[in-house]
Symmetry: C2
Subunit: 410 residues, 2 copies
């Protein structure tokens, strides 16, 4: 925002700048978990009295609280700089990781702290309203111990499918067999609440969370490749989320891979997903169909890779080469069951990649495991629900709900 006086009046402009700065300061607190005022002064390029005023406002809003400085964080020879910590009874969000076989729901506070979590099976042939009712029941469980004064900012939902950015409509969740499902509305109706709800693709949210507090902190060109029955990617490019025109970017499971290959559920033949997707791997290792959604656990039971798994590793590496040639990422994070696959056939994956990628993009890329384990999409869902707090904390708290436990019990 430019500092000149707008024709709309200096007062309004100053207020907008102040709220923007308040949100930016909160984003730093959220990223660090706890931070000193001296660090905030340095990060934001504002003077000490401005920082002190903003911190005071966050305390008044109940978002942050004073922390005793740890160790020797000092400003020159002066007093130790006071710390800013996340308030124990501060705002929180509900994050939902909707999987093909189970839903994980968590109450999550600023700093990405998982305060309470619950999960339940999902039947892949279930209707959306049935799944919505299960998710609503899990939400009731995770708010059971929430402090009455803590405000619920919103709900974020990670979806194994294509989500329209403009309104969160699930256009396609192939392994749930959902088409054009307004799942956010279904969950709110089941709860009888009206709070902001955000939905996004699971791999996109995995990339976001890994970028903010996982394996990709400080990495501006990052790809999170998710093996979650289907195969997809979330892409951070130049520090920005790659979303595409409608929010559908990253459907790399449907890159052409083997035109003579197996039929894909998308109607084509030989998509990459038909070689490295969970169904293909399950078939290769004779895993029963009802265990496909727990492929990571099945793979973790292997002591040695079979020939078929080594071939799958090579195919994963070959496909990653196409992705490295296309995006030139610094880091490729292998999420979902690809984590377990990497433990078994990491050498084949790396060799397949090295064999097929162009030398220039290959030389600077690293394969990495998720820093957040299997929670990346869940924590990413929390991030999109928290986002309004970082744009304008005052407005976001204004539309937040207090005493959610009481309201849901009533």
């Amino acid at each position: 925002m430019s500092p000149q006086q707008r024709r709309s009046g200096l007062g309004t402009n100053q207020e907008a700048v102040r709220r923007h700065n308040l949100g930016t300061l909160l984003r730093h607190v959220h990223g660090a978990g706890q931070i000193s005022r001296a660090e905030l002064t340095s990060l934001m390029g504002l003077n000490r009295s401005t920082i002190a005023a903003l911190v005071g406002e966050l305390e008044t809003l109940g978002i942050s609280e004073r922390a005793t400085p740890v160790g020797g964080v000092r400003q020159g020879a002066g007093r130790p700089s006071a710390g800013v910590a996340i308030a124990a009874e501060g705002p929180f969000v509900i994050a939902v990781d909707l999987g093909v076989d189970r839903a994980v729901v968590a109450r999550i506070g600023l700093g990405g702290r998982i305060l309470q979590r619950a999960q339940a099976p999902v039947h892949s042939d279930g209707e959306a309203w049935q799944v919505g009712a299960s998710v609503a029941a899990l939400i009731r469980r995770v708010v059971a111990d929430a402090p009455a004064a803590a405000p619920l900012v919103g709900i974020g939902i990670s979806v194994p499918g294509l989500v329209r950015r403009s309104d969160g409509l699930i256009r396609l969740a192939p392994n749930l067999e959902w088409h054009d499902v307004s799942f956010g509305g279904i969950v709110l109706a089941a709860l009888g609440l009206d709070v902001p709800v955000q939905l996004a693709n699971d791999a996109d949210l995995g990339a976001l969370a890994e970028h903010i507090r996982g394996a990709g902190v400080g990495v501006d060109d990052l790809i999170y490749v998710s093996g979650n029955v289907g195969v997809g990617a979330g892409v951070i490019a130049g520090g920005h989320r790659l979303e595409g025109a409608g929010g559908y970017a990253g459907e790399i499971g449907h890159l052409r891979f083997n035109p003579e290959g197996r039929p894909c559920h998308c109607g084509n033949r030989g998509c990459w997903e038909t070689e490295v997707g969970a169904h293909a791997i399950a078939e290769a290792i004779h895993c029963p169909a009802d265990k496909v959604a727990q492929l990571d656990e099945v793979l973790d039971g292997f002591a040695q890779p079979s020939r078929e798994l080594r071939e799958t590793g090579t195919a994963l590496g070959h496909g990653l080469a196409s992705i490295v040639n296309t995006f030139n990422p610094r880091t490729v994070v292998l999420g979902g069951y690809f984590r377990s696959l990497y433990r078994l056939v990491g050498a084949e994956i790396s060799a397949g990649l090295a064999d097929r990628a162009l030398p220039a993009p290959l030389e600077s890329v690293t394969l990495a495991m998720p820093g957040l384990g299997s929670d990346s999409p869940l924590l990413g869902a929390a991030e999109i629900a928290l986002e309004p707090l970082f744009v304008d904390p005052v407005a976001a708290l204004g539309s937040a709900l207090v005493d959610v436990r009481g309201r849901l019990a009533g």
Copy 2:
């Protein structure tokens, strides 16, 4: 930049903000070619007197001049708003489009105006210093009529290959058989000049130019797919250039397409380029090898597509489907010889895309021809050379050269 007073002092901060605003205003003038003060006031959210002061400074710097308002651009009932136009003897850049068979060089002013152009053949087995000498000779020709007072801001070079972003090193230009060539330095040495020089990949620059003043104006998710002997893409995602960690993003010619296919120069087999690259098409239509680099002209001579060309069109569509699934673009611009191919087999290209892309990203994508014809990479090269003027016009003019014609003649 935040409006608060920095610890470094209000004066310095104000000067930085003023230069930033001056550059932003110039970017608007550059984009529009000619623009009224009223439009600038509205676009920049600054008041009339601030805009008037900035416009006055651009005039003093010799960058812009007063224009008589065209038609009835009026502010309310008052006087017609004075216009801002690009100065006839204002700053310019040299843009170089290095092709596999020829180099095109132009003197280009603000507003993307091509003021003078020249071209010469390039021998694909030529050494880099020979090509550099040819390019230097072309540069001497295009500055022959440059006004002595007009400053040269810099040189931008479009390269058919992988360019390292950090220093402009050409890592690989496969069809020139160049590896790790510092072509910018070679051209400057041949000229005996020291001016800023920027290099980037031709498809990346095509995307940039089409986004600024071609088929992609106002389109934030755009892919320029370039058929230029090799096949590559430039990607604009969410309004930002997709560059990747090293600057190598967009090498979609090396997407795996047909694992049983022809060997590719990259060492793999069946890359997309082996099916839709110029050599593959030339072979299919029995075009002599020495005409491959002019494939667009050869294709323009066809009245009817052969069966082979129709198959190529289908393969182009199938590959575009992978790209649409990966990036979810709003517009795909077909550059280079793909323009000529589209005229012949547009139906097959569109059908191949529709047959293989996922419905959600397919529904909002449009195939388009370049708005700038075959000049997109050339105009993109001008953009990267002009860029310092939009960051800080005062500093950019400070490092510009005047009387380039005289210096090169001396």
